[in-house]
């Protein structure tokens, strides 16, 4: 079984898909499941480097409920298939920010492979695309289980006498691993109720948000 300690992937896409499958496995079972899956995938690849196709085939052969869990992971990756991206580029008429908005809608973040694929298909440099993503607050390159958006406007900062905004920000930025992705909105549009925060799109009072984040971080 020595060869399994250095798994060979055909490309970074396959490697990424595999690591995202592992992410879907409960923490306690990871050490046990990982070599098992690698072994199966290796078999499907016929001893050669593991491809995306081999991984997909392996998932099909698994028993339930693992099969559907991993199928979801594979399906999420579908947002990035070259044909899907091609269709998106055509639909948006080459309007890059709109493509990013579409990917955000679908996946809640923009996977790096998608950016590379867009670069490949449009001929726009990757550096330029990454610049567009990293300067826009609307986009995110990292996926996380939960997204928190804080009311971080002047009015709300002034009103926040108990400094809950600061506390929440510190809570999230200090936390490892990054279960929660923090975003700052300049105005959520309800200044009289503010400061508020959004957790996964739901608007809540700050003390509720803080308690929820603490619960997330404890796991």
């Amino acid at each position: 079984m020595t060869e399994l300690e250095e798994p060979k992937f055909a490309d970074s896409e396959a490697e990424d898909l595999f690591s995202r499958m592992i992410l879907a496995v409960p923490e306690a079972m990871k050490n046990m499941v990982k070599p098992m899956l690698l072994g199966l995938a290796g078999q499907k690849a016929g001893g050669g480097p593991i491809t995306v196709e081999a991984l997909k085939e392996m998932v099909e052969g698994l028993p339930e409920p693992q099969k559907s869990v991993f199928k979801q992971v594979v399906a999420a990756r579908k947002g990035l298939d070259p044909e899907v991206i091609k269709a998106m580029i055509e639909e948006c008429g080459g309007d890059i920010p709109r493509i990013f908005f579409k990917i955000m809608e679908r996946m809640k973040y923009i996977p790096q492979e998608a950016v590379r694929e867009i670069a490949k298909q449009t001929g726009i440099s990757e550096a330029h695309l990454f610049h567009l993503i990293t300067t826009g607050k609307a986009f995110s390159l990292s996926s996380s289980a939960h997204q928190v958006t804080l009311c971080a406007g002047t009015g709300c900062t002034v009103k926040d006498k108990s400094k809950s905004l600061e506390t929440i920000e510190k809570l999230v930025t200090d936390a490892e691993p990054k279960e929660v992705l923090l975003k700052k909105a300049r105005c959520l549009g309800c200044c009289d109720l503010g400061p508020l925060a959004e957790i996964d799109g739901k608007r809540l009072a700050l003390n509720v948000v803080q308690a929820q984040i603490e619960a997330f971080l404890k796991g």
Partner: protein, 558 residues
């Protein structure tokens, strides 16, 4: 049906008037983002259910935001023969009572905010409602007292998605007027005589900008509406464009006619998904009736509009960065000159105006520049919309004539919350200075505020006695650290260095000379940054050092 001339618009207006002064009862629910986050959706649905249950002959419409954020959801009721009554804080639980009382032809006096007996529109036409006794008139309602509504004239009154209702308030008459009888030069002269200055912050004379674009020969020109509001305090443009989007579109069309453009863009910030949807629907509707597209109203004037969503960077509100973003390029400012009016989008002459600026235009054309200039003071004509927030009793959006004293605006907002005293206030967005409470007698005036090193942007934030100004300064610098696009080193790196010094001060580790050091950075950063974001970066720091020095000095050891 295609609109061919002013008659077509009048026909539409007649349809719309049936909605604004209906035969049956009409309920309107303020359903902009501010209303929705206070539960307007529930109110709207409950209203529909209750009306159906009680067999009331009534209609319910979702309208925009009338600026009274503190008392959302706002419901207005028009019953034949009675005044229009505005109710505040109408939560779903209170709907059944309201419907019962309205059915009886009565008013819940303790819930009613004020009544309206008539509306006068831009074209001089009026809608008269009855007079119901025992309720104060809208002109006596403190938060509205002293307001003059030109930009917000339709906010909360009309259904933002109804072209007919917009036409009923005099909408598209300005467009019909210029298309049938005016030359581009005459339109620009009218705008110049109104004294209108850009409402985005810099206050550049709008007429002059248009004239430059008109006089620059080019095969193609563009008009761009900037609704990429990123100021960290307010959603004022959101409220405007959600409540009366057609006013923005008409303003843009007039600008396009004046400079000879045939293509326009509306650039909305990333959070404005609902505004983007509304605009897209309206552009479709207008194209269908021939008010957008080729040969509008049978003239040679053609115009199309595209809505684009910003990626959410603060700098994308800067006009040259905005143009870059529209071209799909990096959201970074361009060097100026050339100014966009000469060389803008795709290298063509482009007029970039704020949405609020555009919303003033139809009124100016219809009622004349002199009428507009009768509001305001020398050098600052017309009205200004301000979102008042922070430590105030009532959060609201007001529109007041320029020249109004800041203390009067504070009075509309009910003063400082919790009977505390005012320490300072900020009026120019993050790049404006924080002024001390003693300056509340300042008028809203471009020059006078400029002298105080602040500007006239979209918000007024009140700060009470408990506010720590060093921490406020740190908050703004952090904002700039996060929002600097990174093109100019003084802004990108300077923000971090200033932030470090402030951090030391906050931890009580300040040293003598720190304040002088911070002040000495203002000149160089201002001189060496390409856009206003960098140039104004130190304003919150230098203004707090000047005006609230004691907050800093108590942190500096001997």
């Amino acid at each position: 049906m295609r609109i061919k001339d002013i008659k077509g618009i009048e026909l539409m207006a007649r349809e719309g008037l049936k909605d604004l002064k209906p035969e049956k009862i009409r309920f309107t629910v303020g359903s902009a983002v501010c209303g929705l986050s206070r539960g307007a959706k529930g109110t709207l649905e409950t209203l529909k259910e209750e009306i159906a249950k009680s067999n009331l002959n009534a209609e319910v419409k979702a309208v925009g935001c009338n600026g009274l954020c503190f008392t959302e959801p706002v419901v207005e009721v028009i019953s034949p023969g009675m005044s229009k009554i505005t109710y505040g804080s109408v939560t779903p639980e209170r709907v059944p009572e309201l419907v019962t009382v309205v059915k009886r032809g009565e008013v819940i006096k303790k819930m009613a905010l004020f009544k309206t007996t008539r509306h006068q529109f831009l074209n001089g036409k009026t809608v008269e409602y009855g007079d119901t006794a025992g309720i104060i008139d809208s002109s006596e309602f403190t938060p509205l007292k002293g307001q003059v509504r030109i930009v917000m004239r339709n906010a909360g009154l009309i259904d933002p998605l109804s072209v007919e209702e917009y036409a009923a308030t005099g909408g598209f008459e300005a467009l019909a007027k210029i298309l049938s009888e005016k030359k581009p030069e005459e339109v620009i002269r009218e705008v110049e005589s109104s004294g209108l200055r850009g409402r985005g912050g810099a206050g550049f004379p709008t007429g002059l900008k248009w004239k430059t674009a008109l006089e620059t020969p080019s095969p193609k020109k563009y008009v761009v509406a900037n609704c990429s509001e990123g100021d960290p305090e307010v959603g004022m443009h959101r409220s405007l464009i959600e409540s009366d989007p057609l006013n923005v579109i008409e303003g843009m069309m007039i600008a396009a006619f004046a400079i000879g453009a045939d293509e326009g863009y509306i650039y909305v910030s990333d959070k404005l998904v609902s505004a983007e949807e509304k605009l897209t629907v309206l552009i479709g509707k207008l194209s269908a009736i021939g008010l957008l597209g080729e040969r509008i109203m049978g003239t040679d004037f053609s115009f199309t509009i595209t809505v684009k969503r910003s990626s959410g960077a603060y700098v994308s509100g800067e006009e040259t960065a905005l143009l870059n973003a529209l071209e799909g390029d990096m959201t970074e400012p361009r060097p100026r000159p050339p100014f966009p009016a000469k060389k803008g989008l795709f290298g063509m002459p482009t007029v970039v105006n704020n949405v609020e600026t555009f919303m003033n235009i139809p009124a100016i054309i219809l009622k004349g520049g002199d009428w507009y200039a009768s509001y305001g003071v020398e050098g600052s004509r017309g009205t200004k919309v301000l979102a008042v927030t922070g430590d105030c009793e009532r959060t609201l959006t007001v529109e007041v004539p320029l020249g109004t004293k800041i203390k009067n605006v504070i009075r509309m907002a009910g003063g400082v919350k919790g009977k505390k005293s005012l320490k300072g206030f900020q009026i120019g967005g993050p790049g404006g200075g924080i002024l001390p409470a003693r300056k509340i007698n300042l008028p809203l005036d471009f020059q006078k505020l400029g002298k105080e090193k602040t500007m006239l942007a979209s918000g007024l934030v009140l700060m009470d006695e408990d506010t720590d100004m060093v921490k406020m300064a740190r908050f703004f610098i952090k904002f700039f650290e996060e929002e600097s696009c990174g093109k100019c080193i003084p802004c990108r790196e300077g923000s971090h260095r200033v932030g470090e010094v402030l951090d030391y001060l906050i931890r009580g580790m300040g040293e003598k000379g720190d304040l002088e050091y911070l002040l000495s950075l203002e000149g160089p950063i201002n001189d060496t940054s390409a856009c206003a974001l960098g140039k104004l970066m130190l304003a919150p720091v230098s203004s707090t050092i000047r005006n609230f020095r004691e907050d800093y000095e108590k942190r500096i050891g001997g």
